[in-house]
Every structure is written in C-alpha cells, then in structure tokens.
C-alpha cells in the first residue's frame, strides 16, 4: 500500500509522444480511475507506471520511492506493482492455483505464510476455491478475470493497475464484477489505478478520476467534482450529456437565459469569449404539464425511452432546444406543450 505520484510524464514509442506531460496522483489505498477515449494514451500511461515503457521525461514516485525519472528506471519486477489486463492474460500452461502462485516464492512468503495457504486464501477471496486445479481455458471470462486479480494481489503488491479489466465481459457481469473487485481492493487496502473508457464505470467505482485527453490529464478530482464542476466543455461532455444555453445577460452570481435566471456555481471556471454559454446537465431541468407554475413553456419534439429513465427533447418558445432527463417516461409525449424549469447551479464554460 502506497501512494502514486505521476508528474509531467512524457512517454512515447519513438515517434511523437503518446503521453504528453501527464500529472496525476492517488493516495495510499485510494482508487484512481483514468478515463479517456481510445487513443488518448491511458494504457501507455499505465504501462509506464508498471515499468514496461521507459519515460522520456517527468517522474513517477511510489510513496517516497522514485521509480522513474532523473536517470532512475526501476525494472517492473522490482516495483511491486500488480497488473490485471483486459483479457486476464492467464498463463495457459498453468493451472489456476499455479497462476495465482506464480508471483509467490516456492514455499513460504516473507511474512511466514506458506505459499499454498496464500493461494488458497486468494482463491477463496475471489470465490473460486473449488477451481484451483482447473486450466484457464475451462473458466468463463468473469472467472478468468477473478483469477487474474487474485494472481495480481497474491504477492501483496503496493499498487494494482487494472487495464480495462471488465471491457471484455458482457454488461450484466461487468457491473457485478466491477463492484466485487472494488470491494476486494478495499478489503486488501491496495492502491489501485483503473484505466477505462467507460465513464459510468469510473464514476461508480473510483474515489478519484483523472480525465485524459490527447496524452494529458486535463482534470483530476472526485467523481462528483468532475461531473458537477468540470473545468471545460471537453471534460463535461466526456462524463455525461451537457445542455448549453445561450447567456442573455450577466448578473453578479447569476446569468439570465431563455429559462430565466440561473444561479452560478461559485468557482465557475471559464470566462471571456467562451463565457456566454451556460452548461447544465439534463437532470437539472424540470418538466411539467403546460401552465403548472414553472417558468418557460415549450413543445416536446422527441422522447427516447431507456427504461428507468427517458430523454425528452423540448424546443422552448424562443426556439432553444434543451434535453431533459426524466424518470420513467415522465408522462410526456411528442407534441405535448410543457413548462420547463431549472434547479441547481449552472456553470459557464
């Protein structure tokens, strides 16, 4: 268990760098998710932290131990970092138990635990105690990922790196296993860095999120911070839908829009040229039957039904389109006249 600090990291494969001055950190025992589109450099960042890629410049520190930078480049086997890859990468020629025991000494660990017991303990933890003598190809995808996690955690690494470990699984299993893994990591009190392109996964699992765009971590913070107070439109749009409203007039701590006055988030970031757009999330709108007290009327143009919620597209009287998230169907249909209101704070981006 240790903290990880990455500062101004530049990494490449010889051509133009893939990771360009990335900075992020995770506290001891924390769970950091690096989110970004494919090709943004997240896996390259992970490989550099694990020690598989030499860094061009910048530093990586584990706790107070410098592992990369200033001429230091610790080989992967001496970093104490476990990895779990996309497809598990189990050793096909070894049984489940031998896979889990791969990183352990032959008989007894340094802390006196016999290797056999440690393997059994790990398999028990991931719920595969009866699979010890199976071959990897006899396991399902979810089981393989559990074994990969057990293998990574068995030598009690300080940090575990998870490279899209759930993306090869189907949707139901993915959520279930993700929650399970989160639980296991908390119990093991291991620092974890997860790389994913699925913002939902990142928001629900991590206690810190770093958003990576074109080789840079553009913003790092708690999931709530990133979702509710994104630093720019790119961050806002990556983590969820954004509704932009043109600003008609600026007040001291509010702006006036087609929907009337909306209070501003105190630490509102952007200003200047970009500051004439107010950004809101679709769930910040209220929609009600026409004339029921709310501020502005409009007409429903489209409803997209998702089951537990729906997206309702409304064209306001002045022609501004807004997209509103409602629970269930919201009781509205295309063509309905509705009243639209806003709750919560907006941000100028």
């Amino acid at each position: 268990m240790t903290s990880v600090h990455v500062r101004d990291l530049v990494v490449g494969y010889g051509g133009p760098p893939i990771v360009r001055a990335a900075t992020c950190s995770v506290d001891s025992g924390g769970f950091l998710a690096i989110v970004g589109a494919s090709g943004s450099g997240k896996t390259t960042l992970l490989r550099a932290i694990a020690g598989f890629l030499p860094v061009t410049s910048g530093t990586i520190t584990l706790g107070d131990r410098l592992v990369d930078g200033s001429g230091v480049c610790l080989p992967p086997e001496r970093r104490g970092i476990g990895i779990v890859t996309q497809d598990g990468s189990l050793f096909p020629h070894l049984t489940v138990a031998r896979n889990v025991g791969f990183g352990l000494p032959r008989r007894t660990s340094a802390d006196g635990t016999p290797t056999r017991e440690r393997v059994a303990e790990m398999l028990d933890m991931v719920g595969l105690a009866d699979m010890a003598e199976r071959s990897p190809h006899e396991l399902s995808g979810g089981q393989q990922q559990r074994v990969a996690l057990a293998r990574a955690l068995a030598p009690r690494p300080d940090v575990v790196l998870l490279d899209e470990p759930f993306s090869a699984l189907d949707a139901g299993l993915r959520t279930e296993l993700a929650a399970e893994v989160r639980e296991l990591l908390t119990v093991a009190r291991t620092t974890a860095i997860l790389v994913t392109h699925d913002q939902g996964e990142a928001l629900s699992l991590a206690d810190q999120i770093g958003l990576m765009i074109e080789g840079r971590i553009v913003q790092q913070g708690t999931p709530e911070e990133l979702y509710q107070r994104p630093g720019d439109l790119g961050v806002a749009a990556f983590l969820g839908e954004v509704v932009l409203l043109p600003v008609i007039d600026h007040g001291p701590d509010f702006v006036t829009t087609a929907l009337g006055r909306v209070a501003l988030d105190g630490a509102s970031g952007a200003s200047g040229a970009a500051a004439d757009r107010l950004a809101l999330r679709p769930e910040q709108f209220t929609v009600a039957a026409a004339g029921e007290g709310a501020q502005v009327s409009g007409e429903v143009t489209h409803v997209t039904y998702h089951g537990h919620d729906s997206m309702v597209d409304v064209r306001l009287v002045d022609g501004t389109p807004v997209r509103i998230r409602v629970l269930g169907t919201g009781g509205v249909h295309p063509g309905d006249a509705v009243s639209v209101g806003v709750r919560g704070l907006g941000r100028l981006l």
Partner: protein, 533 residues
C-alpha cells in the same frame, strides 16, 4: 496493450539476429562477388549459346511441369469437392501423399521400371506427378469453402453449369491455384536429382557438371547467379500471389457451401477411372517399382552395413544442420514476432533470401567460399551442416516467428510485474509456450535436410554417405535393386514434412475452418516456411 511492442529489441538479441542474417546471406553474396570479380570472363560465359540453351531448357521444363500439375490437379480437385464421387475421403488423402515421394526417388522408381526413359518429357511427367498436390490441395480447399451465393446468382442469370465454372468458379479459385503453381515452378527450377537422372540439361545439372569438370567454374558461377535470379523472381511472385489470395478471403462462417452434384453411372465410372489413374501413376507406380526392386534383387545386392552407415550419415549431418539452423533462426524469429518497424521487417526479409535457393547454388558458393577463405573447411561435415542451415533456416525462422507470435506479450508483462527478471519472465512464459513449435521447426529442418542431394554431393567429406547420396550413386550405375532400400528410407523420412505441408496448404485457403483447425497453430507454424527441398 499491443500485440507487438514497437520498442527496440535488447541489444544482444538484435546483434544475434543481424549476425544470423549476415551468415545466411553470406554464400549468396559471395557468389555474386565472385561473378563480379571474374569480370570479362563472366561476361563471356553469360553470352555463350550454352547459357541460352540452359535457360530455355529450364524455362520449358518449368512450363511443362506447371501445365502438367494443373491438368492433373484441376479435374481431381473438382471431382473431390463438387461431385458425390464415392471414396472421396480416401482419395483426398491419396492425392496428398505424392508429396511424400521426393521427385528424384520417383525418377529412380520410373527409370528402374523403364530403363529407356530420358529427356525433358520424361522429367516433366514425373515431376508433374510429384508436384500436382501443391496445386490440388489448396484448390480443393478453395472449391469446398466457396459460398453457394455467387454460383446461384450466375445460374439465375441464365449461365449453364459449364459457363459458371468458366466465368465464376475458375476466376475465384485462380489465386489459390496460382500460388500453388508458383511453388511447383520453384520446386522444378531447384530440382537436381530428377533432371540429372533423365539427362535434361537444365540449370542444376549443367551447374553441377561444370563444377565437376572443375576447369570451368566461372561458367558454373554465372549460371548459378542466373538461376538465383529466376528463383528469387518466383519467390517474390509467390509472396505477392499469397497476399492476393488472402484478400479474396471471405470471413469464415459467412456462407453456405455448394451442394455437390450427383453423378450418373457413366460419370461415376469416368471420375473413378481418372482418380485411379492419377493416384496410380503418382503413388502406386513408384511404390510398386521400389517394392519390385526390393524383392527381385538378389540378397547380396543389399549391404546392411552400408545402409546403416548411410542412415548414420544422414542423421549426423542433418542433426548438425538443424541445430545450427535453430541457433541462427531463433533470434531472427523472435525479433520478427515481437518487434515492428521497417528495420525489423527488412531483417526478416533478408533472412528469407535463402528461402527457395536451389541446393546446387548453395553447394557451389560454399565450395568457392571454403576454397578461397578456409581451405581446411572444404568438404567437411561442418560445411555440409552449414549448407543445410542456410538452405532450411527459413523454415525454422517461420516456426519460431509464429510460435512466439502466438504467445500474447502481456504474459511476459504479467510475469515481470510478479517479480521475474526479464530473462526469467521470457523463459517461464514465452519460452515455455513457444518451444514446442520451435522444436517442431527444428525437426522439420532435420527431416528436410535428410532428403537434400546436390549440396550434399558437393560438400560432403570424401567417403561420407547419406541415404540420398547412396540412392544417387546406385542409380547412376543402374544398380536399381541396390538402390531400393535407400529409396524406401527416403520416402519414410519425407512422409512427416509432407503430412505437415498438406495440412498447411489446405488450411491457408479461404474459409477452410473445420473442427480440427483449433490445433492448427503449431503445425501450420512449422509448415509456414515449408518449401520444396
């Protein structure tokens, strides 16, 4: 994580790979240097009428064998894939088996039966019968895997069955057949034993004769260079054809195969007659002839101690060759499998220069090289093993490359993250998983080297005999009975690589995904670089 890392390979690995490529290219480079050195003499030798005669003879022979192989292969493949001919499974196996008969063994078998056989037509007949599986197997696989859609569309537009074959089936099957024909051409160009037995003055025989005559070695070198140029052109054409064939590939499982047509009584009789004729001439006749020679020759014609000596000679020299080939091949194969980039690609391409080199050329250039640089190495076992390594290392490179590439590099990363050092991580994952394929590649080199004839004749120490040289010398003096045991031994040895090759030829054609293909990786890996010996 990527399947390949574009990182630079470790220096030691890179150096070994580069040294390997240089060593493999050495004989060929020396041959060119030698010819350039000869200057005017070489120029004069090039413009002799004999050079032109040899060129025309070789080209004619290649053309005849190619046409012969196609004529034998096309109806056979069609009968076995598109009609309900009886015993089709049995015939499918039988039509692949001629690959197990080295063509000079078949030539011996024919001439033992018909001692008057001679000339280009005799050579073309025997070699067509030996090589038609190179065309037949991929053609059969292609015909079997074609989707019924295009043919049904063509029929619905009013084409007759015959017109569909001509305008739809033939163009779609052509890439597979064409690639096979190029292999046939390469084999024919490099073949030494058969053309010599039938006294055809093709490149290989003339080069060997000039070398034996020894006063005219510049002429031999000039002819060898010409032969290399032709062979390289064919290798390049084959690589291009393979690329084209791959582009025709349709994703597996997208189509329904064509229903085979039922045959009338007459059709069935004609079809069976054809299949019996082809397999009879290609397989039963040579085997029967050898069996007849074995039984009819007098007991004292067989010398057990000479036979044991020849087996020992074959095993010794080929094992040395295979070990040397593996030493050269492994670093090159690992670099090719794990690292990308233009440098790495040209490294592998450089190694494949010796792919398809005629044995006679490697033999000749090593004679020159040893005599000029290290006369003590002339006609030693070490030089012979080196020749085998040069000739057959591409097989081992191919095997190493595909076995290593089949192991995900992430396994190594995981092993490193669990505390193994770089070498230990490589050895416990990639090395552990890839070695069976690499070893199979070595075995393939071993078995192929045992059949090698011309380089063995030129480079072996005086008095050193292998199965191939014994068969050769007995046949030269028309001691056909005494040659028979050696012929049988060679066929037994050749059967293993032939079996691997037939699986590879069948598997590389579009959509031949069958139940057995799950275990194709190791055997296709070893057979990837299989080329006529």
């Amino acid at each position: 994580m990527n399947r390949t890392t574009s990182r630079r390979p470790p220096l030691a690995l890179l150096v070994s790979a580069v040294v390997g490529v240089v060593v493999l290219a050495l004989p060929l480079v020396y041959l060119f240097v030698r010819v350039l050195d000869a200057g005017d003499a070489a120029w004069a030798a090039l413009w002799r009428t004999r050079t032109l005669d040899t060129l025309l003879t070789s080209v004619l022979l290649v053309a005849l064998v190619a046409v012969g192989a196609l004529v034998l292969a096309a109806p056979t493949a069609w009968l076995l894939s598109r009609t309900r001919i009886p015993f089709s499974r049995t015939f499918m196996v039988l039509t692949a088996l001629p690959l197990a008969v080295p063509s000079y063994v078949a030539a011996y078998a024919w001439i033992a039966l018909f001692p008057g056989m001679e000339g280009i037509w005799a050579a073309a007949l025997v070699m067509s019968l030996c090589t038609f599986p190179y065309v037949c197997i991929p053609l059969l696989a292609t015909l079997r895997s074609m989707d019924e859609g295009p043919e049904q569309v063509a029929r619905s537009m009013g084409l007759t069955r015959g017109a569909v074959i001509r305008r739809v089936v033939a163009p779609m099957a052509w890439p597979a057949a064409g690639a096979g024909l190029l292999l046939v051409a390469l084999y024919t160009l490099a073949e030494f034993g058969t053309v010599s037995i039938f006294r055809v003055d093709a490149f290989t025989r003339v080069i060997y004769a000039s070398y034996r005559a020894s006063f005219d070695r510049t002429a031999a070198a000039v002819l060898a260079v010409l032969l290399v140029v032709l062979a390289l052109a064919l290798v390049a054409a084959e690589a291009r054809a393979r690329g084209r064939a791959a582009r025709w590939r349709i994703g597996p499982g997208t189509g329904r195969p064509v229903d085979p047509i039922p045959l009338s009584g007459v059709g069935r009789a004609l079809g069976l007659t054809w299949l019996l004729l082809v397999t009879g001439l290609a397989l039963a006749l040579p085997l029967g002839s050898i069996a007849y020679q074995l039984m009819s020759s007098q007991r004292r014609a067989f010398d057990p101690s000479a036979f044991v000596g020849a087996v020992a000679g074959s095993v010794t020299s080929s094992t040395m060759g295979a070990v040397l080939a593996l030493l050269i091949a492994i670093p090159i194969g690992v670099v090719a499998a794990r690292y990308t980039g233009r440098w790495m690609r040209s490294l592998e391409a450089g190694a494949f220069v010796s792919h398809g080199l005629p044995g006679v050329v490697v033999g000749l250039s090593l004679v020159f090289l040893t005599l000029a640089v290290l006369p003590a190495a002339y006609q030693t076992l070490a030089t012979l093993a080196f020749a085998y390594a040069v000739l057959f290392a591409p097989k081992a490179i191919g095997a190493t490359r595909s076995s290593v590439a089949a192991v995900p590099p992430e396994l190594e990363s995981v092993a490193r993250s669990l505390g193994r050092g770089p070498l230990a991580a490589w050895w416990t994952t990639t090395g552990r998983l890839a070695w069976p394929g690499v070893a199979a590649g070595g075995l393939l080199v071993l078995l192929t080297a045992m059949k090698e004839l011309p380089a063995t004749l030129m480079l072996r120490p005086t008095g050193f005999e292998t199965l191939a040289t014994r068969l050769w010398s007995r046949t030269e003096v028309e001691a056909f009975g005494a040659a028979a045991p050696y012929a049988l031994g060679l066929i037994a040895l050749a059967a293993v690589p032939a079996w691997l090759l037939s699986r590879w030829l069948g598997s590389r054609s579009p959509g031949s995904v069958t139940g057995e293909d799950g275990d194709m990786v190791p055997s296709s890996a070893t057979a990837r670089a299989e080329v006529p010996a």
